[in-house]
Amino acid sequence: MTSFLLSLTGGLLAALAAPWLTRRFPKRSGWLLALAPLGILVSLMNLLPALRNGESPSVSLAWAESLGLSATFQLDGLGALLAALVAGIGALVLIYGGAYLSGHPNLTRFYVVVLLFMTAMLGLAVSANALLLFIFWELTSITSFLLIGFEHERPAARAAAWQALLVTGGGGLALLAGFILLGNLTGSYEIPQWIAQKEVIAASPQSTAAFLLILAGAMTKSAQFPFHFWLPNAMEAPTPVSAYLHSATMVKAGVFLLARLLPALGGLPAWQGLIPWIGLATLLTGALLSLGQADLKKLLAYTTVASLGALVMLLGINTPLSVKAAMVFLPAHALYKGALFLVAGGVDHAVHTRDIRDLGGLGRAMPLTAAAAGLAALSMAGIPPFFGFIAKEVVYESALGAPALAAWVTALTILANIILAAAAGWVALAPFWEKARKDLHPHEGGAGLWLPPLILAALGLVSGLLPELAAKNWIAPAVSSVLGKPYEVKLSLWHGLNLPLLFSLITLLAAVLLYTLRVAARSADADAWQHLARFGPAAMYARGLKGLLSFAALQTRLLQSGYLRVYVLFITLFTVGMALPPALLSMRALPPAVWTGVRFYDVILVLIIVTAAFFVVRATSRLATIALLGAIGFSIAILFLLYSAPDLAMTQFAVETLTVILFVLVIYRLPKFSRLSSRPARLRDILIAGLGGLMMTLLMLVVSYHGQDSRLASFFMENSLPKAYGRNVVNVILVDFRGFDTLGEITVLAIAAVGVFALVRGAAKRKGERHE
């Protein structure tokens, strides 16, 4: 296991070496880089015997234990199946990409990101810790974002990358929340622990919420209805990327996750109650929408959506048979769909169009590509002796065993399969063997372009001819690890005369009919699809995003209006509102008001302050305002004096005098006084200012009622002379007991001085510039 994990770093090393290799061997860089995934594949094969014996080797490293994250890697049959696809197709895609993007200025970036993606995907396949799995999950989303936006100068590519990231990213967050719910429930994030505690999970009311959140994550990643729309848009990516990420591997991550968690969550009623229908809806959506596509890649993308739906449906049905069907269909689909995407890319590369209405007659000039296309299409159409045939048989068999409405499920599955089989023809037969409608000047590309699809397609044939080999080495261990017990898998081309065989026959005949009608090419022109699209989830997504953005703009204009007075208003209102509940509660504790010891000069001073304050807000000249403010200040100073704080009063006197003098000095330099706010606005302001004042008064009242004498004063009094050698206690407090405060305050003064200097200097400089 350790050696396998070490081989994974080969992908990272290759990513590091890619820039150098691309410069040094511009023609052969893809072939060289493919050695890394091939090495991984070999080291995986070494572990196959152990896996066949039911072992699942694991390695655990500490990472962030306090959060439940440990780097626990475990290889089981399921992980091995996915890892083999990722590494094997990865090698072919690197070779193919090197040829497809040969001479492209960003070829290096393609290699680097594809290799990073591959490593993340392999990590996902062998993660046994849910948080670790999540980390790899998100890494595949980010690398997918970078790859969809590979041709980032095109707005459509940017938009598609963004959409894919936001949809899968949103699902990822749901997934994380679901994982954490399960983690809190079971006290662990190790997936084997979850499986061991499946009774605990089944008994908890929280587990349905966790299940739904996890399901949402899987649905976005595997493009399940209604989140399927990002996948066809992701066809903006270069074709090797589409083949690798958006058909063969990354979009299978959601399916993989469901399979991984099936032993832990499969027992929940929602599993069988919900997942099959989501899968079936996706299967039908993908199949039906593929009818309207004329672009080879889009057509393939919709059939991919359909196949992902079938996989999800099979896992949802959750019988040993359906799990087996899923594990057979998963590699079968990866092989033929990967090949077909690469073929589509080869066609695009040769004749610079992917529109099936224009394509035709390429077979003679591109025989090898045509061969790959034909082999893959036969597998996709489910024709014996291809692997796709075996897969389709077991799918039908499972549909018949669906937990509810088995007849409907089967019928609809057949319907979808008819369309998919016809689509195989449109993609792989028509462009090569039908008559050309345009002069396309086709030519066969280099080996890098035809060999990878040919290998994939040929594997589909070999696995079909020797099904026991695939069953024993790959399928059986995978099914066993999903079911959590050893399960023997027998695959063969001939099952005897039974219902699935009959269904296969029906499918084929209907598909041939559908193919000859050329529905796809014709209906691509029809407006009906456009009308339908307006009600689709993609349109809803766009509307939702737009609505959110307009709301964002509106709320920002409201809150961040640019007016200082509005800000002050918000802050005052908020503070008052927040203080209100505790203020009302504490008011109840207040005794009835008693007037004691009110002296007549207190009353006079308060009256002066109140009157002056009243006139300050009504004053229409600055001088009057300053004078009135001065009156308020001096009255407060006298109040300090009366309440035996002479030092405070002296300070206040000094400050007030200085303020008035400074104001008078600058008053003639200020602009003319004017009233800007309207009458209602002023009334509102008075109200709010009054509220603020009232609240502060109330605060003073309720708090001072509970007030205590200072615990510090006596210490200051006693120690001022003997310990600090000062008779003036206030001075000693300022320079000794709390001298540190004073240090801060003088710093403030120094800063203010710098500020005044800088501003005056700036003003003088600007004035100078104006004069020049």
């Binding site: 439940g68 936006g149 990213g169 605060l699 001298g739 801060g744």
Partner: protein, 491 residues
């Protein structure tokens, strides 16, 4: 030793004042000062890790009569992070601050700002905290105003008036608290307040503190000063502010709500939780409405403040630990992003996303410098933002707080939206005018790279910082060691 983070910037501030006519010397002093500061912060962190809490009675006047400085896990982590950010800003400022600003006293202000920040992290006295807030406010105000242009002054005026409002509330709250308990030492207050038997009155004072520090930390609906002013000064200053100022506000909230107001907490914690949610949402929506790189980042500061507030409101040890980890993460990542915005601006002469473009093709390194902290901010693994989010969500779900968890996750998706919007516009979109091929000054990219690497490090190897955060949080939920270190066994 723990007074060093205050004394070093003070000394270097004074040196810079003395070197008024020697701008080059001042630039050198900034590097020396922040390096020393970082060293002292490391020393304090190591010391505190060993001893738990270390306290210093200024002038040897015993607590609660004199002023006490205290460094615990939270303080020391904040000190170190702030010092690292200051060091990066000092390096970046070598090329990022124009000679005019240096002649107007940029460097003394820079040091005094750090003094205020560190003072706030270290003080154990509530009035002394006010003093440090004033030092911070005054120096940051002048730093914004330094340019002397109309928009600088406008931003600075809004900044200072709204922050003075916070000061008034803060000071009133201190007055009321002193009236209630007769003491200013925070540890002493922590012991006295429960004995008063006036829970509603204490809550009332707590609310005033919440409003005052809410303004300082730019929480909803008190954040207006931040978007009004952060886009006006040079990016070095914005980056420094984004890393430090609001975070001191959050620090103060954490400090007073874990140390002082721990009695009747249901009301304040509910308010905090609601504010946290609205802060995240309004901030991120504000960002979504922006088309200016720097304004967009400024709104994200607000949004990200909601997360540590959420941890504070949840108040379990794991939630507080998550808040602390989050603070360190966001201080580093956010500052790095502002520095990247500055790099972009120095290349293309604008912060306007509509005018930017083509940087991914022309400047792959710069693109990576943006992408890593941006994705970290959006909480993508295995970056620091992911672990911060994970820790918070875990803590939230442990307490069954599904709503705030859902909000925090939705906001992180919106953050991803904003970050990728910047990516699409500035990096992917073809450039309107060719990106200049000239080399970027190493003074600019090296500190940016440094911050990105530190941020990457605490993401890929989160365990040590998580451990430190956890220890710090333990001292916040059990304040006994803090009280003993500050006032000893005295009742």
């Amino acid at each position: 030793m723990i007074v060093l983070p205050i004394l070093i910037p003070l000394a270097f501030g004074i040196f810079s004042l003395l070197a008024w006519k020697a701008p080059r010397l001042q630039r050198g002093l900034a590097l020396a000062g922040t390096s020393l500061l970082t060293a002292s912060a490391v020393a304090i962190l190591l010391d505190v890790r060993r001893t738990g809490v270390s306290a210093l009675q200024i002038g040897s006047w015993p607590a609660p009569y004199g002023i006490t400085l205290a460094a615990d896990g939270l303080s020391s982590l904040m000190l170190l992070t702030a010092a690292v950010i200051a060091l990066a800003a000092a390096l970046y400022g070598q090329a990022g601050i124009d000679p005019g600003r240096v002649r107007s006293g940029y460097y003394p202000l820079f040091h005094f700002l750090l003094m205020g920040v560190n003072g706030a992290f270290l003080t154990g006295d509530i009035f002394n905290l006010y003093v440090w807030f004033e030092v911070m406010l005054m120096s940051s105000f002048v730093l914004i105003a330094l340019g002397g242009e109309r928009r600088n002054i406008e931003g600075a005026v809004k900044y200072v008036i709204l922050n003075l409002l916070a000061s008034i509330l803060f000071l009133s709250a201190i007055g009321l608290l002193y009236n209630l308990a007769g003491t200013l030492n925070m540890a002493d207050l922590a012991r006295q307040l429960p004995l008063l038997g006036a829970p509603n009155q204490i809550t009332l004072v707590a609310v005033l503190f919440l409003a005052a520090f809410g303004i300082k930390s730019a929480a909803f609906p008190l954040f207006f000063w931040l978007p009004a002013s952060y886009h006006t000064p040079p990016v070095t200053i914005t980056a420094l502010f984004s890393g430090l100022l609001t975070k001191v506000g959050v620090y103060a909230l954490i400090r007073v709500f874990t140390l002082l107001f721990t009695q009747d907490t249901q009301y304040t914690r509910t308010v905090l939780l609601i504010l946290a949610g609205f802060t995240m949402v309004t901030g991120v929506l504000g960002a979504a409405a922006q088309t200016d790189f720097r304004r967009l980042l400024s709104f994200h500061i607000i949004s990200q403040i909601g997360y540590p507030l959420m941890g504070l409101a949840l108040f379990s040890q794991s939630a507080l630990a998550a808040s602390i980890y989050f603070l360190v993460h966001v201080m580093l990542a956010k500052t790095a992003l502002f520095l990247v915005a500055g790099l972009v601006e120095s290349l293309q002469g604008s912060f306007d996303l509509k005018k930017l473009g083509g940087l991914y093709s022309a400047r792959t390194g710069l693109a990576l410098l943006f992408l890593l902290p941006a994705l970290s901010l959006a909480g993508l693994p295995p970056l620091s933002g992911f672990f911060a989010k994970l820790a918070l969500v875990r803590a939230g779900l442990e307490q069954g707080q599904g709503v705030i968890v859902a909000v925090s996750l939705a906001v992180s998706l919106m953050t991803l939206y904003s970050m990728t919007k910047v990516w699409n516009e500035a990096f992917w979109k073809p450039a309107a005018v060719p990106v200049p091929r000239r080399r970027l000054s190493a003074w600019l990219w090296a500190p940016t790279l440094g911050l990105v690497l530190v941020s990457l490090l605490i993401g890929i190897f989160p365990a040590p910082l998580l451990e430190l955060s956890n220890q710090a949080a333990a001292l916040l939920t059990n304040t006994q060691p803090y009280l003993e270190a500050v006032i000893g066994g005295m009742p």
